[in-house]
């Protein structure tokens, strides 16, 4: 564990460093990481806000089952952060409610 993030130092050799953009702010990630891993490593466990009560939610089951780590990725809502790898320039938005599909309802 280094000072500024939650990545274990010495335990793992990582892929190449890259930058994703989270709510408009650049965040360092490593090729091969899931979006959830990058967010957790950056100390940002809140991944969405629920539709009814507006409660924060994040990484819970970590295996694609609980559907709680849903984020909006490059304008596509409801993407499971734990099952989706990062890539350079990926735009991640903390999801509000059910997300915006970009079509009128």
């Amino acid at each position: 564990m280094s000072g500024d993030d939650l990545r274990m130092t010495g335990a793992a050799q990582r892929g190449p460093a890259l930058a994703i953009v989270v709510d408009g702010v650049p965040v360092t990630a490593y090729g091969g990481e899931s979006i959830a891993a990058a967010l957790m490593a950056a100390g940002q466990p809140v991944m969405r806000w629920t539709a009814h009560a507006g409660q924060p939610r994040g990484y819970f089951c970590g295996m694609g089952v609980c559907q709680d780590c849903l984020v909006t990725v490059d304008d596509h809502p409801n993407v499971r952060a734990c099952m989706t790898p990062v890539r350079e320039g990926l735009r991640v938005a903390t999801q509000q409610g059910l997300g915006d599909l970009g079509v009128s309802r």
Partner: protein
């Protein structure tokens, strides 16, 4: 989605220990196998591999299971196995036709034999604050650390039951996190009583001892007969409240203690993923020791639907050693059914596998007794606690439904939306059944189980509309 389904000799669903072993053994005997898994890498949860470009540093704690798993994965990759990764099996129709989808497209695969190896998920246990970011399952914590070398927090409390708590603590400590306490719900009294039956399984015992020693050396309090009570923090975890519990894991009021933490890892055992087997029409029975609803199988691990075999934790939670052996046995049975393994060779191989399973079953029974699940854990939640995480429905709505006459989970679902969300009731189903049982005085089995509906995992309409996965 249209067209003639592709036909195959054997489809294996799930790329964890059971599915890998089934695919390897069946392929070794000349059966053409298609292996479907939702993840980008084979291995499932236990053998979870690091992504391409990552490697565990030499001598690192992250390596052991990964290396063991990699050997099996390489055998499967070197065999006549068609891999369909990042592909979700979202339904089963006409008993042995599997509907699969990638992110882009979907298709049907008909198989003469089907091996379901879906594994298990951490048993979800609602408690006040359990939806707060920073609360995560033991499986989720392990994946984060094993696959990515990322810690869930800097000051972490672990609560649950079973040997996995030690494994999580081990990874956390190796990664430099502070483990403030491990709360094991079971009383773990009179361990000497189990000694004679543990003797044939010294390797497991020694591994457990090494973990225990590491925890002791790190000065981590190991609190038996303790449970999580509450996660503190408005937008993310800032603390945890624990308390003592009695032998059925019911919390004891007035014994609460608080800790400052930034993550809470919760692991009260596992429940089998039975959705696909139930869609296939396989009969299930209630078995509390095996994690709840469990597929009925014969000695060849064939379900009540001919040609559908179920192996590993998906058919009763028993751990990776049993899963490997069951996968192997299912692979043999598939080869036998395909006429690729016959006569004496077949009988010899099958009886060897059954013998090894019998040996492992002895250990499993000890673990089941030692860490016997305590249904009192479902009294942690109060009326305000969110029961259905997807639809944001609190426990009190379920209780209200039982007062109005609901006696079964699907009734409560229809009345309250509990279990109707994207996770299809996987996160709330077991707790709801226990709450109903407590309210009605009936058995948990009588409270039933949510009826699974395809797609069992969310699939984009765009992918459903386009054929060719």
């Amino acid at each position: 989605m249209s067209g003639v389904p592709g036909s195959d000799e054997c489809v294996v669903v799930g790329g964890g220990p059971a599915g890998l072993a089934a695919a390897r053994t069946a392929a070794r005997h000349g059966v053409h196998v298609t292996l479907v898994d939702e993840n980008a890498e084979l291995g499932g949860q236990y053998y979870r591999q690091m992504p391409a470009g990552f490697s565990a540093a030499p001598g690192s704690a992250l390596g052991r299971e990964t290396i063991e798993g990699r050997r099996l994965i390489e055998e499967v990759r070197g065999a006549d196995v068609e891999l369909r990764l990042e592909t979700v099996a979202w339904g089963i129709f006409d008993e042995r036709t599997v509907a699969v989808a990638t992110r882009e497209a979907s298709s049907l695969i008909s198989a003469r034999t089907l091996v379901l190896a879906p594994g298990a998920i951490d048993r979800p246990v609602p408690f006040p604050g359990w939806t707060t970011p920073g609360v995560l399952t033991a499986g989720g914590a392990q994946n984060l650390m094993k696959a990515y070398g990322v810690l869930p927090g800097r000051r972490v409390i672990i609560a649950g039951s079973g040997p996995l708590l030690f494994v999580v603590a081990h990874y956390l400590l190796q990664g430099g996190a502070k483990v403030v306490a491990i709360c094991e719900a079971s009383p773990m009294r009179q361990l000497w009583r189990y000694a004679p039956r543990m003797l044939p399984h010294l390797d497991f015992v020694q591994q457990g001892y090494r973990y225990r020693q590491e925890i002791k050396d790190a000065g981590v309090p190991f609190l038996t007969g303790h449970v999580i009570r509450r996660a503190l923090g408005a937008t993310q975890v800032t603390g945890a409240v624990i308390s003592r519990c009695d032998d059925d894991w019911s919390p004891i009021e007035g014994t609460e203690e608080s800790f400052d933490v930034d993550a809470i890892v919760v692991g009260y055992g596992f429940v089998s993923s039975v959705e696909l087997a139930r869609l296939a029409g396989c009969q299930h029975a209630w078995d509390a020791d095996l994690g709840g609803w469990t597929a009925v199988r014969n000695r060849d691990l064939e379900s009540t639907v001919p040609g559908v075999f179920i192996a590993g934790d998906g058919a009763g939670v028993a751990g990776s050693a049993v899963a490997l052996e069951e996968g192997h046995l299912a692979g043999l049975a598939v080869a036998g059914r395909a006429g690729r393994l016959t006569g004496r060779a077949y009988s010899r191989e099958i009886s060897r596998a059954r013998g090894r399973l019998l040996h492992l079953a002895g250990f499993r029974r000890v673990m089941d007794q030692l860490f016997r699940f305590g249904p009192g854990i479902y009294t942690l939640a109060d009326g305000e606690t969110t029961l259905c995480r997807c639809e944001e429905v609190p426990v009190m709505d379920a209780l209200q439904a039982t007062r109005e006459g609901a006696v079964e989970v699907n009734e409560v679902k229809a009345w309250t939306r509990i279990g109707m969300g994207r996770c299809q009731g996987r996160m709330c189903g077991p707790a709801l059944a226990h709450l109903i049982a407590r309210a009605t005085g009936h058995s948990v089995a009588d409270a039933g189980v949510f009826t699974p509906r395809p797609p069992v995992k969310p699939v984009a309409l765009e992918a459903l509309a386009r054929e060719g996965a």
